[in-house]
């Protein structure tokens, strides 16, 4: 694909698509389908480019804008390829989901939705495929503006406008940090260049002659990217902005946009910063920030009654896992190359998985909102009885995010835990981070038990106006599509790890990482982690064998349950002889975790989420109860 510049072609196609969708926005459904087709074509295209970059090495190209003589240098490296693959999945499913979903907003003009969405995808693609920091900044800023436009889509709602305002300020503060850092670096390059490789030399020079300046620059970049990634305490905008956006775009925000912060972080600490003691310090800080996010955000999520707000808090928590993995990797770069490689792969793996299951969860919440018209989990429940496909994909996504073996979330969490526990033998701090992460993983499970239990399982409980029907086909298809990687990567994690290894080891200095086979073994069935200096593998996860054994045990359990030839009969529920209507005895959402919330009330900031509450009244009641 040398002659034609692939990335520019994809960008031009998306920009043209944006113009077309703006023109035909009056034909709402047609416009949605046109946008979906455009995104689908671009997705397949960039997935092929990414595949080539992963299997044959980086793709370089320069596009010259005719007449203006402006050079646009693009480089798709291994790392960028991983992000391109995520983009193609999330973009396709979210756009397809929008087609019917946007019928929720008959009063709004779709010319302020699809064109912005397509431009947003163009910026994401451009941003991860360039090594030129000026181009990077341009894409970064346009991405911030388009995403802001999409978040405030429901302009008439004052809460949405307020969320949009918070987002706008936070994200521009982040951009300012990054801008300053890049300008400082630019001024120091000998040939006044924005190329990453030249800046890397400046950085290497600084570490020797003026380490203070180097650390300030790194700090500014890290601050900017942490804000974008939603890492606490800088990610305060996220729980406001994510629920405010239309659901498909919430999926894109959580599945894709916060990942740009991860990409920026890796560019800063792996590509820009040469191997030095600064990477160890940076890694420890990143892992600490990640763990703080895991802890605070997930515990705050437990209190939520608003389904999308709950998911937004979990996004911060799961980003924390990614940062823990990456931070462990960066901290170990100079101590143990083998373990560092494993930890970086772990972080990236969780990022891919998070893109799949979190987009899916937002689509599920969106489907529930589409059908029931409420995000309050106390006002709707038992949706599995009217929306089986949505409910089953929601179960898959919840089990994935909770890290149940056999789903993708487990495979990556397993790697993160294993690498941070093993890192703890050399840097004891990491054991404690690992323990917190494992414990909060159980809390995540608790939170999603609530989400599933209240919204999808149990007795059907919806308003009288609600149609008892599954959501339209485009919505179910996009949910099922997003569910596929959740299951596939859970069963065959080694396939993904192999390509992540290519991405990570090509980003690190040549010959730095041990070979794939020596780290993860040769078997395709088992994901094993072996560290140099130990004769037996350190950790093992063989999904297929364990799942087959599990299936065998399941068959045995079935045989035992049929042994007595028991008959089944339907009976009414037994409430100790008293007659109650279901409404009277319904167990409310906030009671479910009350003992735990009370216990932890002193440990985390309960004020944190009372600020902009989209369901208003609910959180206050929960908090007063917790306070007692």
């Amino acid at each position: 694909m040398s002659g034609l510049d692939v990335i520019t072609a994809a960008l031009i196609f998306l920009v043209v698509g944006a113009v077309i969708t703006a023109l035909i926005a009056r034909y709402r459904t047609v416009c949605g389908y046109v946008a979906s087709v455009i995104v689908l074509i671009v997705s397949i295209w960039i997935a092929m480019v990414a595949w080539q970059a992963l299997t044959r090495g980086p793709i370089h190209s320069v596009y010259v804008i005719p007449f203006l003589n402006i050079f646009l240098p693009f480089t798709v490296d291994g790392l960028g390829a991983i992000f391109l693959l995520i983009t193609s999945l999330v973009a396709t499913c979210a756009t397809l989901f929008s087609v019917q979903y946007m019928s929720r907003y008959p009063r709004y003009n779709l010319a302020s939705y699809y064109p912005l969405l397509l431009l947003f995808f163009a910026c994401v693609i451009g941003e991860v495929s360039t090594h030129n920091m000026l181009l990077f900044l341009v894409f970064w800023e346009v991405m911030a503006l388009t995403s802001w436009g999409l978040i405030i889509f429901e302009k008439h709602d004052p809460e949405v406008r307020r969320a949009g305002w918070i987002y706008f300020v936070a994200i521009h503060a982040a951009t300012a940090c990054i801008l300053v850092a890049i300008i400082i670096l630019y001024l120091q390059t000998p040939t006044k260049s924005f190329e990453l490789s030249q800046m890397r030399q400046v950085m290497a020079n600084w570490l020797v002659v003026s380490p203070g300046l180097a650390h300030i620059t790194l700090g500014l970049l890290a601050l900017g990217f942490a804000t974008k990634a939603g890492i606490l305490p800088f990610g305060f905008w996220l729980p406001h902005a994510h629920p405010a956006a239309p659901s498909p775009f919430s999926a894109v925000l959580s599945g894709l946009m916060v990942k740009m912060g991860v990409h920026g972080l890796l560019v800063t600490f792996v590509m820009l910063l040469p191997l030095s003691s600064a990477s160890t310090v940076g890694g420890i800080v990143i892992a600490l920030l990640g763990t703080i996010s895991i802890f605070v955000a997930t515990l705050t999520a437990l209190q939520q009654r608003d389904s999308k707000r709950l998911l937004a808090f979990h996004t911060i928590g799961q980003m924390g896992y990614i940062w823990l993995g990456l931070g462990t990797g960066l901290a170990l770069l100079r101590i143990s190359p083998a373990l560092a490689t494993v930890a970086l792969i772990a972080g990236l793996f969780h990022m891919i998985n998070h893109a799949a299951f979190k987009s899916l969860l937002f689509l599920n919440a969106g489907a529930a909102l589409y059908r029931t018209g409420t995000r309050d989990m106390d006002k709707a429940g038992g949706l599995i009885r009217i929306m089986p496909v949505t409910a089953i994909t929601a179960i898959i996504a919840s089990l994935s995010i909770a890290g149940i073996p056999g789903f993708n979330g487990f495979a990556s969490k397993w790697l993160i835990f294993a690498s941070s526990i093993m890192a703890g033998i050399k840097l004891p701090l990491f054991v404690f981070l690992a323990i917190i992460a494992i414990f909060i993983s159980a809390v995540t499970l608790a939170s999603f038990m609530k989400f599933l239990g209240m919204l999808f399982l149990g007795k059907l409980h919806v308003g009288p106006e609600v149609e008892h029907r599954e959501v339209p086909l485009t919505m179910t298809v996009s949910q099922v599509l997003t569910a596929i990687p959740c299951v596939l990567f859970g069963v065959l994690p080694i396939l993904v790890m192999k390509y992540l290894y290519t991405a990570v080891s090509s980003t690190l200095p040549a010959g730095f990482s041990p070979t794939f086979a020596s780290l993860f073994g040769r078997s395709l069935l088992n994901a094993t982690v072996s560290l140099p200096g130990s004769s037996t593998p350190t950790g093992i996860w063989g999904p297929l064998v364990i799942l087959i054994a599990f299936a065998g045990c399941l068959a045995l359990a079935y045989l035992i349950s049929r042994m007595g030839g028991a008959k089944t009969r339907e009976v009414p529920m037994w409430l100790c002889g008293e007659e109650h209507s279901f409404e009277e005895v319904r167990y409310p959402v906030h009671s479910f975790l009350l003992p735990f919330n009370r216990f932890f009330a002193s440990l985390y900031p309960a004020h944190f989420d009372t600020d902009v509450s989209s369901s208003g009244h609910s959180d206050e009641t929960v908090n007063t109860k917790v306070r007692q």
Binding site: G382, I384, A402, I404, P405, F417, A418, I421, M422, I425, V431, A434, I435, I438, F439, A442, V443, L445, A446, M449, G453, L457, G458, N526, T536, T538, G539, I540, W541, G542, I546, A549, F550, A551, C553, L554, L556, A557, I560, S561, M563, G564, A566, T568, R569, E570, V571, P572, M573, W574, L575, C576, R586, Y587, S591, F592, L593, P595, F596, F599
Partner: protein, 297 residues
């Protein structure tokens, strides 16, 4: 053959030891005769033939008991029970901890689907207990990982055997024993089921084979947890030749479960918040063990 030993231990020793505890410990403390030792088997078989009454028909509810049962058996295949665990080469301690979690999730699912207020309360309590008890197991196993440098349970046991007892492992073993009481669902921590107040909690609407499977899974869970404690933290006897290493393991878990049964008989049930407070203390003990291990003790 190790398959047969591990599955057999989990399936048959569990109810048998429960029978021993009822006859030899509880009945003796109550000064009464007590049921025959194999009474738990009679109960299970009787339940398997009983009519299955469903108040909230749901596919998930139908599969929840099967999943709980299968998850515990799969965890048993990863647990060292005197011999190298049959699937030890395919899953480490993180996998083990999550398989155990699946069983707890299945119980909660069952409680949530039933939609009876009692089962909802039971599911909520099951979750609370899981959140405070599971970390103890994890921290103790991490302690063993720090000492042995491996995440595989059999390697941990081997390391402990070869290198002799260390302070950190002893403290971790004590913490794990304190948590064992709740892990096997015994008084004073049988709060999720609490027959006298919420009538079995998550199981209130279950009958027949569904109830039998859950009960059987719980019996097996006792053996699995006791085995982890016995094999890794009390490594005596794991290097004996074949029948004797299994016999030594059996002896250890019977002693452990009888001790647990004794504590069960002489204690009243705690409230959920009291239990949580207690377990934060146990978690602190486990963390001390881990710090000791990090210090190289």
């Amino acid at each position: 053959m190790t398959f047969a030993i591990n599955i057999g231990m989990a399936l048959f020793i569990g109810p048998l030891v429960a029978g021993i505890v009822r006859k030899m410990v509880r009945a003796r403390v109550h000064s009464r005769q007590g049921p025959p030792i194999i009474q738990p088997f009679y109960d299970l078989f009787k339940l398997l033939g009983k009519e299955d009454l469903e108040s909230s028909p749901s596919l998930l509810l139908r599969y929840a008991p099967l999943v709980a049962f299968a998850a515990i058996l799969a965890a048993a295949l990863l647990t060292p029970m005197g011999l190298r665990p049959p699937l030890g080469g395919y899953g480490d301690m993180i996998v083990f901890a999550y398989l155990i979690t699946i069983a707890a999730v299945a119980v909660m699912m069952a409680g949530l689907i039933c939609a009876s207020p009692y089962s909802m309360v039971g599911a909520s309590r099951e979750l609370m207990m899981h959140l405070v008890v599971e970390p103890v197991l994890i921290i103790c196993l991490v302690t063993a990982t720090i000492k042995s440098g491996s995440l595989l349970m059999w390697d941990m046991a081997g390391w402990n055997y070869v290198n002799g007892l260390s302070i950190s492992m002893v403290v971790a073993g004590i913490a794990l024993f304190l948590a064992l009481q709740a892990q096997v669902g015994k008084l004073p921590f049988d709060i999720p089921e609490a027959e006298t107040e919420i009538m079995g909690g998550p199981f209130i609407e279950l009958s027949g084979p569904k109830l039998a499977l859950f009960q059987w899974a719980f019996f097996a869970r006792q053996i699995v947890y006791a085995s982890v404690l016995a094999a890794i933290f009390i490594p005596w006897g794991i290097k004996f030749i074949f029948p004797w290493n299994v016999a030594a393991h059996l002896l250890k878990i019977i002693v452990l479960i009888v001790l647990v049964g004794l504590i069960d008989v002489v204690n009243p049930r705690l409230k959920i918040n009291q239990a949580m407070k207690y377990f934060f203390g146990v978690i602190a003990v486990a963390l001390i063990a881990m710090v000791l291990a990090l210090l190289g003790l």
